[in-house]
Symmetry: C2
Amino acid sequence: MDSTRIAAERCRRAFYRISSLPIDVRDRALGQVAKELTRHEEAIVDANRKDLEEAERNQLSSPLLKRLKYDGMKIDESVRQVEALIMQEDPIGRVLSRMELDEGLVLEKVSCPIGVIGIVFESRPDALVQISTLCIKSGNAVLLKGGSEAKRTNEILAKVIQGAITQVDACFEDAVHLLSTREEFRALLVLDDLVDLIIPRGSNELVRSIQNSTKIPVLGHAAGICHTYVHEDADLELAVRVCYDAKVQYPAVCNAMETLLVNGKVAGTFLPLMAKEYGEAKVVMRGDEATRRIIPVDEATEDDWTAEYNDLVLSIKVVGSMQEAVDHINHYGSHHTDAIITRNEATARRFMDLVDSSSVMCNCSTRFADGYRYGLGAEVGISTSKTHARGPVGLEGLTIYKWRLFGKGQVVADYAGQGAKGFTHRKLS
Amino acid sequence: MDSTRIAAERCRRAFYRISSLPIDVRDRALGQVAKELTRHEEAIVDANRKDLEEAERNQLSSPLLKRLKYDGMKIDESVRQVEALIMQEDPIGRVLSRMELDEGLVLEKVSCPIGVIGIVFESRPDALVQISTLCIKSGNAVLLKGGSEAKRTNEILAKVIQGAITQVDACFEDAVHLLSTREEFRALLVLDDLVDLIIPRGSNELVRSIQNSTKIPVLGHAAGICHTYVHEDADLELAVRVCYDAKVQYPAVCNAMETLLVNGKVAGTFLPLMAKEYGEAKVVMRGDEATRRIIPVDEATEDDWTAEYNDLVLSIKVVGSMQEAVDHINHYGSHHTDAIITRNEATARRFMDLVDSSSVMCNCSTRFADGYRYGLGAEVGISTSKTHARGPVGLEGLTIYKWRLFGKGQVVADYAGQGAKGFTHRKLS
């Protein structure tokens, strides 16, 4: 689709202009966004009301309607988030290392923005504000696609943000661009010459479908199959409290526990205690044979070990050793977040070394795996990929680095062949 | 191809075993590799001689024959490289940051290996030794595919390395696996559930074809179209020396200059001086109209601006300003390495901010963009992608991080809703 290529080309040119804007300009642009959001509150709420009315006519489910709603309170929250983002350190231009290669030849590794980011998100209009301001802060240009049910809200939000940043500096023109149709976003996925990173925020199906249709790097996670393993030396009271939280506190999210692994030596004591608590919270439990010999639950089939219920459902397996738990997690898990409950720090560290997941935890709830809780500020997403960024990703995930080499006329010929000069390779502070 | 999946599954299991081996075991394995290479020198040279004989019968070009040759001297060089690798710091288990989220709840970000790496390389058998030892050092498992012309050499090298590391620890079984056919490597490219990173070391065509046929992240560069821009305030004598080196010292490589950009204000003085030097080195020059008004060279067409000659050929363009040079580089370049010649540091920094390339340089030759010269030790490759690793990539490019959270029974419910606990988010050293 030609219109998408044109939009992406404009966005790329905007990136070249904004990537070197000083932090005070980027922060002033964010300040203006906060102001303009407040100033246009009424119009935004109006647009959102129309989206909500249409969504109700289309009989959207009540959780979806709740996420779609963007009222005065939510606008205030967005404004507070933008203000908090202004307070964050500049992620750009940080000298990550300096080295003298030879006298008068100095190499610097310095953080910089990535380029053009394509982001697709579902339902929640506040995501548009969060994502575009994260991109402004980090000097990236962004192409956004929201859910069609939030069309009117997203359009006015994009317009308000574009207006605000362009007021501060004309460079920002085209730096935040809203794509209107799903076809436009699909067309974006093949523009690997113009788009540097895709971030999908939405259902597992959405993420998987995007991963399957682009060569552009995708930052995100398609599944969150998280485990807690209760070791034989666990404090069982602590284990009950943590496993309860990991499953029950908010089961619809990716960092909630889906499978409980229990060491056989404590299963007989632990599972009845745990099942009592889960029973009161109406958790549906499914267990392997050994579990079913201890507590009366439904049978877990092979499919249960790879299921992300996102609901008050839990699979339970009794294992003979920590290694068996590790093998189960590495085989069936999604490399998202997995925890061990143990009194022994060496055992915990061994588990954490062996489990190949973005977050590994000891004696606490998998639900902590989150950018805000990790102190990263706003969260770009949670990544289960093995390159670039892993786990909860903050602003830093929107940056990369470049190498700067300052010389005084040095040529490689002087360092080659007989009588060649040597490099000093001296680390500088 | 089922045999490739089986090999990749074995390699993945090997990764789970070796990823947590302490550095002394990994280093001892490398020491054993060095010993066994020396011990099997005769057999390796024999195998290589057979490859060379066949290659001669197949009338391989003389540069290819030279790269294929792996004699006693080259084996010694490989051994020295392995010994240097042993001396390098452990890239794994480094605590990159520590933060107290709340009392008794401590988060660590710690470096770890990536997983299973698929590497394809052409001709040079020393690449096999270099790559597999880099993977051993960094706790990664590796599937290798070399050029068919080096079949016998690669087979014995893989066998010697596998034998050496397995002697030190049985965990290493299957950690280094040689794929025999091109079909096997092609089959690997679809195994994104088992392979975490692909590194192609070879021609631009090879890299491009791999990038086009896999969803697995690819670390490398498809092209090296490097520029040097001579600014109006440049020290012209310095400019001549640096531009000569960037084009002439070794034109066949990716970091050699392909296009020279000259500010119109100095073109009249600079180009005749430069053309004289290039003429003596038999560099074929092609220029735009403005260039041709100053020196008698062939006409450069649009294709020349995107050509990677890898030869003693150079395109030349006269530009009106630094911004025009930057625009040309960002538009036609390959985001590899680009340099400015200027006396003004502010101008240099501005150029370096604006040019979107993995290495940006001032007053030195683009030929410096190289892992060894950058002090990275052995080089995994040079990356022009915008995520994970950029520019010359050393051992660090074979690592990622995981998050470790140590608690004492904390649950998320305590930090949610009314009367919730707050996070301290206190940075620890």
